[in-house]
Symmetry: C2
């Protein structure tokens, strides 16, 4: 088993943190997105969507989409649970993970892909007005998450989950749009300081 | 338990089809999106993201995000399985559901929300160039899915799954951008004719 990975992209990091929390170690292969290594015939055979990460099984089958890879490992090794232990928790964590993904991670990604000159060849077409709109959505997301974290220690409630992992990766990827967490979102900032103390944060 | 629902939107339909396939019946409450009934204080208390569907439990707790609601029911009533029976299947179905959602359902939705005058008050800001770009992504998705369905009966492989449900809802919602499945995607068209024969299709 091996993981096709990129140290600079947010979605592969979701899987790396998830695996670190599970205590699972697998070999990784670094793929250079900017050098278009996701567009080679070999890579497309592994993932026709030309995206990272990709998990390759020993039988040669490949699994892509970061949450699909996490979900495989959650089913294969349930402890520690990161996606819920019963029907209600499973539903709630899925809800929070999707909210963070759709309203925070995606806007950060869209803002970057549609405004960065470095992405002009990879994001076709680039729609700068969409990128700018997403900078606004990022600000909305930060205010929203700050409010949510005023009342509980983790994004999905009382336990660390994949929803925290997605939020960690979204917050970290804000570097590409020049935004940092600050005193304007104190609850989110304190949550992030606690997340940064976990060994998995460096994954 | 009750489901806040809209007969005109694609995401609530995902849950209705999922429940019909499981043989689960629960009362629904119709919410008029265009009349801004998702923006009332009562609705926001149920889902601060102001979106449908929302599942309300008998204890008053609410679960939103269509896939989160489906995942709750999959865990509460595993048969018939619609999200995989073991780790490998669970990962694969998640991958296909996300691919269909990200590359097909979202582009249809973006194309509608960013170009329809009827959405001007609900989609702020509207970015027409982004809507137009997504019309192109829809065409790419149709060609891609047609190729995938050349070699197998269902989106995620040999069994009906939530990935088919998402594709059914995306294909149906193309009505809002004036696109229909046709002879240019013959495999997708045949798949869709088989899907329309399932009783759940009318849900």
């Amino acid at each position: 088993m091996k993981l096709y990975d990129s140290k600079t992209a947010p979605n592969p990091r979701r899987v790396r943190i998830f695996l670190a929390e599970k205590g699972i170690e697998i070999p990784t292969v670094q793929v250079d997105i900017m050098a278009k290594q996701c567009q080679t015939p070999d890579f497309i055979a592994r993932n026709p969507m030309q995206q990272l990460p990709v998990l390759e099984f020993d039988d040669g089958a490949c699994l892509s989409e970061s949450v699909a890879i996490c979900r495989y490992f959650e089913a294969a090794q349930p402890d520690p649970p990161l996606m819920g232990r019963n029907a209600r928790e499973i539903g709630e964590i899925e809800m929070w993970n999707r909210r963070v993904e759709i309203h925070f991670l995606w806007p950060v990604t869209f803002a970057f892909r549609h405004t960065s000159p470095a992405m002009a060849e990879l994001q076709v077409p680039q729609v700068p007005a969409w990128g700018e709109a997403n900078r606004g959505f990022v600000e909305q997301a930060l205010a929203w998450l700050d409010g949510e974290l005023a009342g509980r220690p983790y994004v999905a409630g009382q336990s660390f989950s994949i929803a925290d992992i997605t939020a960690i990766c979204a917050a970290g990827f804000m570097r590409v749009i020049g935004r940092k967490l600050g005193d304007d979102t104190p609850n989110l900032l304190r949550w992030h300081e606690r997340m940064a103390e976990r060994p998995s944060f460096k994954a």
